[in-house]
Amino acid sequence: MQSLCTITSNVEISPGVRLMWVEAPDIAVAAQPGQFITVRCEDFMLRRPLSIHQVSPLSSPSTGGEASPERSEGTGEGEIAILFQVVGKGTLWLSQRQIGDKIDVLGSLGKGFSIPSGIARRKVPRQSKNLLLVAGGIGIAPLIFLAQFASSQHSITLIHGARTAAQIYPLLPLRALRSPCHSEPFTVIASEAKQSHLAQDKLREESHPSEQAPRSNLSPLPQEIRFIPITEDGSTGRKGMVTDILPDFLDWADQIYACGPVDMYKAMLELTCHSERSEESKLKKCQVSLEVRLGCGIGACYGCTINTKGGLKKVCQDGPVFELDDILWEEVRV
C-alpha cells in the first residue's frame, strides 16, 4: 500500500497543471477509476490526495513486485499517472520533483466509480450503456481513467469544461459523434497511440527540451469516446459552463459521472431536478467525486466525515465517489 515510487515523467500539460507518471506496479494493477493515492509532500503534516489519472499495468504477470526483472525500463508498464493543479505549497513541491526522484505514495485508496457491468456472461447478452462523463477543470483527472476503463464496453461522452482553451485537456480535438462500433477497436487505438506519441513529443519539446522522451505519456482516449470541450470564454468548443449543455445529454445518458467543484455539483443537482424529461431516472444515476481535506486517507482519523442521507460517511473510505443525491449539499461547505 505504501511505497517509494520513482518518477518517470513530469510535464506541465497546461498552465499550472502537471501530468506525472510514477512506477507503481501494484497500484497500476489494482486501481479502479475514481480511486486516489496520497503523496507525502516535503514536511507537510498532511499527505496530498490525488486522483489516479491513468494506469499502465504490466503486460505480463509480475512475480517479484516492484523490483520484478520482467518489468522492462522505459516501456511505461507498471506505472500510474496523476494529473494535478498546483494550488498550494504541497503541490508546488510535488510539481518540482524531477525524473528519477522517489515520492512516498499510499494507495490505491477509497471507493471509486461503480460501473455497470457490460461483460458478456453466459446466456446474458452483452449490454452497452451510455455513460456521460462531466469534468469541471482539473476534475478531468479521474474521468480519463474511467473513460479508458469503460470504453470497450460502453458508449461514452466526455464533457470537459474550463475557463479557457489552455485549460482543456490537451488530448483530443473535438470529435464527431460516433456510434459505439467495436468492429476494429485495436486498429483504432493503435492509430490513436501514434497520434498521441507525436503530440506528446511536441509537448516535451515545448516544456522540457532536454528530456528524453522514450515513450508516450498521454495515453489516447479510444475513438469511441465523444469528447466535448466547453469554455467560459469560448476560446475552444462551445462557450459556457458544462451545466449549460448537460440537459442535452440527459436523455441519452444511462449513467452520469462527474468530477469538479462543489458549485458544479450544486448546479447539476438543480438541472437534474428540473429536467422534466428525466426527473426520476437521472437523479438516481449520477455519481460524483468529492474533494475535502483528508487526514489519514484510510478511514482512521475521521477528519473527512460528511453527512449524507445514508448517515455519516468518510470521504476517504466510503468515497470519494458518492451518489449526487445522497449528499446533503446544504451541509457541504466549500
Binding site: M1, Q2, R40, D43, F44, M45, L46, R47, D104, L106, V292, R293, L294, G295, C296, I298, G299, A300, C301, Y302, G303, C304, T305, I306, N307, L312, Q317, E331, V332, R333
Partner: protein, 330 residues
C-alpha cells in the same frame, strides 16, 4: 545439536540478535495489581489510528507497544461540521469532535478483533458527565481484547464539561476515583495542556488512583480564512498537534516528572526517534505517536527502530536506564 552455520550468518542477524538482548519493555501500571506491560515504549495515540483495524491493513501494528483507540463515548457521536482539519506551520489543527461509534458498537465490532491481537489495546474513554464515564468504563469490564483505559479529560473539541474535568484538579480527581471504583483495568489519565498548572492536575489524579498519565492532549488553537473573513474550522476552534507543540509537551513531561510517582507517557509532536528519546530522557516511560501517523503510516515503527538503534549504539540494554536522565543532568 546447534547449527553453527546459522549462528554465523552476517551482520543483519547480528543486529537482530543485538536487538533481542535489548530490553524495551515498559511497565505502565506498577501500582496496579495486574500491571500493564508493553513490549516496547511506542504507542499509537488516540484519535489518529481509529480503532487500529484501519492501519492494520498498511502497517504491522502488532509490533507497537500498545494502541490507544479513538475516544469512545456512551452513545455514538457525529462530531463537528467540516472542515475539521487545517494544516499550520509544523502542525495540524483538528476539530473532529470525538466522532465515534459508541461503546456498544465498539464492544460488538472491534473488541473481538482486538482479542486476537498480540498488541495491547487501550480504550480512550470520553464523556460529558461523570456518570457517562462510569457507564462506559463499566461496560469495558471483563471484555477480552481490552488492556486498559485512557481517560480523556482533555478533548478541546466538545462544547461541554470535558475540558473542565481536565482543567480542575478537584473534578479530575473525582472523575478518576469514580472510574477507578468501577473497573479492574489499569487507568491512564490523559491531561490537557490548556491549564495554568499541569503539575497540580497530575498530582490530583495520581492521588485519586491513576496508574499512569499521558501528557499532553492537543493545544487549543484556531485559524482564520482572511478571504472569507471567518474561522477555517467548522467548529471555529480546534486542537493543535504535530511538531509545533513538541517543545510544550516536552516541557510539561519534564515538569510533571519531577513530582509524579507514576509512569508518564509523552505525547505531542513526536515524529522521529530523536523526539521520542527526548521525551524519555525528560521522564516519560513510554511515548505516543499521533499526527505523524497521518504523515507517514510507518512513523511509529521507524521511531521504534530508531530507539533500538540508539540504545545499541550507546551500549544501553535496558530502556529504563534512559528514563529521566535529563532530569539528573540539568
Amino acid at each position: 545439536m546447534v547449527n553453527h552455520a546459522i549462528l554465523k550468518l552476517p551482520c543483519y542477524n547480528e543486529v537482530l540478535s543485538m536487538k533481542n538482548i535489548l530490553d524495551l519493555h515498559v511497565q505502565l501500571a506498577p501500582r496496579h495489581y495486574k500491571g500493564l506491560i508493553l513490549a516496547n515504549p511506542v504507542m499509537a495515540a488516540a484519535g489518529t489510528v481509529g480503532y487500529g483495524v484501519e492501519y492494520s491493513k498498511i502497517v504491522d501494528i502488532q509490533k507497537l507497544g500498545a494502541i490507544v483507540c479513538k475516544g469512545i463515548t456512551l452513545m455514538p457521536r457525529s462530531g463537528n461540521p467540516q472542515p475539521r482539519l487545517m494544516e499550520t506551520a509544523s502542525g495540524l489543527l483538528n476539530s473532529v469532535g470525538l466522532e465515534n461509534i459508541g461503546i456498544a458498537a465498539l464492544l460488538e465490532d472491534k473488541a473481538p478483533i482486538w482479542a486476537n491481537w498480540q498488541v495491547p489495546v487501550i480504550v480512550n474513554v470520553a464523556g460529558e458527565t461523570i456518570d457517562e464515564y462510569i457507564a462506559v468504563a463499566s461496560k469495558l469490564e471483563g471484555i477480552p481484547g481490552i488492556s486498559g483505559i485512557e481517560l480523556n479529560i482533555s478533548c478541546p473539541n466538545i462544547s461541554t464539561n470535558s475540558m473542565e474535568f481536565g482543567a480542575n484538579p478537584r473534578l479530575a480527581a473525582k472523575l478518576t476515583s469514580a472510574v477507578k471504583a468501577v473497573t479492574s483495568l489499569p487507568i491512564i489519565v490523559k491531561l490537557s495542556p490548556n491549564v495554568t498548572d499541569i503539575k497540580e492536575i497530575a498530582l490530583a489524579v495520581e492521588e485519586a488512583g491513576a496508574d499512569a498519565l499521558t501528557l499532553i492532549n492537543t493545544v487549543k488553537g484556531m485559524a482564520i480564512d482572511i478571504a472569507k473573513g471567518k474561522p477555517c474550522l467548522g467548529n471555529t476552534t480546534g486542537g493543535l498537534s504535530g511538531p509545533a507543540i513538541k517543545p510544550i509537551a516536552l516541557y510539561m513531561v519534564y515538569e510533571v516528572a519531577k513530582v509524579a510517582h507514576i509512569p508518564l507517557i509523552g505525547c505531542g509532536g513526536i515524529a522521529c526517534a530523536t523526539d521520542a528519546l527526548e521525551f524519555i530522557m525528560a521522564g516519560a516511560s513510554a511515548i505516543q505517536v499521533g499526527t505523524a501517523n497521518l504523515t507517514n503510516p510507518h512513523s511509529s515503527l521507524v521511531i521504534l527502530e530508531g530507539i533500538a538503534d540508539f540504545m545499541k549504539n550507546k551500549g544501553i540494554t535496558n530502556l529504563t536506564e534512559l528514563v529521566g536522565v535529563a532530569q539528573d543532568n540539568s
